[in-house]
C-alpha cells in the first residue's frame, strides 16, 4: 500500500540537508576559492571524496562512527543524548556529508567567477570581508547558489546506499522513498514500487526543469547581465 510518510521524510531530509549545507558551504566555498593555503588540495580532495566513493563505503564508516559502541557515538550519546544510528538525525548528518560536494563545488565556482577588482574596490571603500561577502559577492552569484541548492536537494532525494547503511528501513523514521521502493520490490509489490518510482521521476524532472528554466531567464531573477 502506498504511504505518505516516505514522501514526507524524503522532502524533510532533503530540505534540512540543503539548508544546513548552504550555511556550511558558503564559508567553505569562499575559503576554497580565495585561500592560498598550501595544502588546500588536500581539503579539496576530502570535500570531493563522496563523489567517488561507493555510498556503501561512506555509509559503513558512518555507521561505525555513529555506533554507541565507539568513541564518537558514545560521546554524542552521553553528552547530547543523541543517537545517530537508525534515526532521522543520523540521516541528516550522513546526507550533509554525502552531498557536501554538490553544494560546495557550485559555490566555489561562483566565488571564483567574481572579478578580483570588485573585492579590491570594496576593501578600498572601507568595507569588511563580511560586508563585501553579503553585499557584493553573494548577490552576484545567485546562479551558483541556486545550482548548489537544487543539486543538493535532488541528490539527497536520490540517496539510497548511505541511507540504508546508516538509517536502515524503519517506517516513519528512516524509510525514505528510495528505501520504500526497495522494500516494496523485496516484497514483490511491483505495482506500489512503480507508483513510488513514477512520482519520483515526475518530481525530479519537474525540479530540474524549473531550475534550467530559471537559469535561462538571464534577465531579472538571478543575474544582472
Amino acid at each position: 500500500m502506498l504511504e505518505t510518510a516516505p514522501f514526507y521524510l524524503t522532502v524533510k531530509l532533503a530540505l534540512l540537508t540543503t539548508m544546513i549545507l548552504f550555511v556550511l558551504s558558503i564559508p567553505l566555498g569562499y575559503w576554497l576559492a580565495f585561500s592560498r593555503f598550501r595544502v588546500k588540495f588536500m581539503v579539496e580532495a576530502l570535500v570531493s571524496l563522496p563523489l567517488v566513493l561507493p555510498p556503501t563505503v561512506l555509509g559503513f564508516y558512518l555507521l561505525l562512527a555513529f555506533s554507541p559502541e565507539n568513541a564518537l557515538g558514545k560521546f554524542l550519546d552521553n553528552y547530547f543524548d543523541l543517537r545517530l544510528v537508525f534515526t532521522f538525525p543520523g540521516l541528516v548528518v550522513a546526507s550533509v556529508i554525502y552531498s557536501l560536494p554538490f553544494m560546495v563545488q557550485p559555490l566555489k565556482s561562483g566565488f571564483a567567477s567574481i572579478p578580483k577588482a570588485w573585492l579590491d574596490a570594496a576593501y578600498t571603500m572601507g568595507k569588511s570581508r563580511r560586508v563585501t561577502l553579503r553585499r557584493v559577492l553573494l548577490p552576484n552569484m545567485k546562479n551558483a547558489m541556486l545550482t548548489g541548492a537544487v543539486l543538493t536537494f535532488a541528490h539527497t532525494v536520490g540517496e539510497f546506499g548511505v541511507i540504508l547503511m546508516v538509517g536502515g528501513n524503519i517506517p516513519e523514521e528512516t524509510r525514505v522513498i528510495s528505501v520504500a521502493i526497495y522494500n516494496e520490490v523485496e516484497a514483490m509489490n511491483y505495482a506500489v514500487a512503480n507508483t513510488y518510482s513514477l512520482i519520483l521521476v515526475g518530481f525530479s524532472f519537474l525540479v530540474l526543469m524549473v531550475t534550467y528554466f530559471i537559469n535561462h531567464q538571464k534577465n531579472s531573477l538571478l543575474s544582472y547581465d
Binding site: P115, A117, Y123, M125, S128, P139, Y224
Partner: protein
C-alpha cells in the same frame, strides 16, 4: 607629505624583478607613474592601498604610519583612507548607479554629497540605472565619483582610462583634474600613455625594471 619606501620581489611574465622605490609626495600633488608594462607600476599602487604586502617598506601619509614592516605595522585597506579606481570598471552589477555610490558612503555621512556627486558627473538622469547599461566612459565616471565619496587622503588611479576611446578619455581627464583640484586631493595616476600622463600630472616618475629612473616635469622627460 607622503613618504613611500617599498621593496618587493615581483614575479612577472618577463621573469623576476626587484621593485625598490623610495620617494616623497607633497600633499595636493598629482604625480604620474609611467613605464613599460610589467615594470611594477600597479604593484606600487596596490601596496599603497594595502592590497599587496611588500617584502619590506614604510608608508607614511600625513604623519600617520600605514605600513612599517620593521615594526610590524600594516594597516588594512579598510583602514587606509584611500580612493582607488581600476582599469576594469569595478562597479557592482547588483546595484544601481546611486546604490553603488551609497555603498561607498560611510554610514553616518551626509547623503547630500551623493546628489552633489551625481550632479558633478552629470548622471542624475541615470541614477537608477544598473551599470551594465552605461557606456565605458559613464561607468568610469561613476567609479571615480565613488572613489571620491570617502574624501580620501590619497587617490590612486590604476590605468583608469585605458579601456576608453579617445573622446571619452579627454572627457574623463577633465573630471580627474577637476576632482583633484576641487577636493584638494593627493593623486597618484599610473599610465603607459605618454600623452595622457603629460596631460594629467604635474610631476612624473618613470619606472623601469623596478626602480624610478626619472623624477621631474613630464614635459621635460618626453621632449628630451
Amino acid at each position: 607629505m607622503i613618504d613611500i619606501k617599498l621593496r618587493k620581489k615581483l614575479t612577472g611574465a618577463g621573469g623576476d624583478i626587484q621593485l625598490q622605490v623610495d620617494c616623497q609626495m607633497q600633499s595636493g600633488e598629482i604625480v604620474g607613474i609611467y613605464g613599460p608594462s610589467g615594470a611594477g607600476k600597479s604593484s606600487i599602487l596596490r601596496m599603497l592601498a594595502g592590497l599587496m604586502v611588500p617584502d619590506e617598506g614604510v608608508i607614511e601619509v600625513g604623519g600617520q604610519v600605514w605600513l612599517d614592516t620593521a615594526n610590524g605595522i600594516n594597516l588594512r585597506p579598510q583602514h587606509r583612507n584611500i580612493g582607488m579606481v581600476f582599469q576594469e570598471y569595478s562597479l557592482f552589477p547588483n546595484m544601481t548607479v546611486l546604490e553603488n555610490l551609497e555603498f561607498a558612503l560611510e554610514k553616518r555621512k551626509d547623503k547630500s554629497l551623493l546628489r552633489e556627486m551625481l550632479e558633478i558627473i552629470g548622471m542624475q538622469e541615470l541614477a537608477n540605472q544598473r551599470p551594465q547599461l552605461l557606456s565605458g566612459g559613464q561607468k568610469q565616471r561613476v567609479a571615480l565619483a565613488r572613489a571620491m565619496l570617502r574624501q580620501p587622503k590619497l587617490l590612486l588611479l590604476d590605468e583608469p582610462l585605458s579601456a576608453l576611446d579617445r573622446e571619452m578619455r579627454k572627457n574623463l581627464q577633465e573630471y580627474i583634474l577637476r576632482f583633484h583640484r576641487d577636493f584638494q586631493l593627493t593623486t597618484l595616476v599610473v599610465s603607459h600613455d605618454a600623452a595622457e600622463i603629460t596631460r594629467l600630472s604635474e610631476r612624473l616618475w618613470v619606472l623601469e625594471n623596478g626602480s624610478f629612473v626619472y623624477d621631474g616635469e613630464p614635459n621635460l622627460y618626453f621632449t628630451k
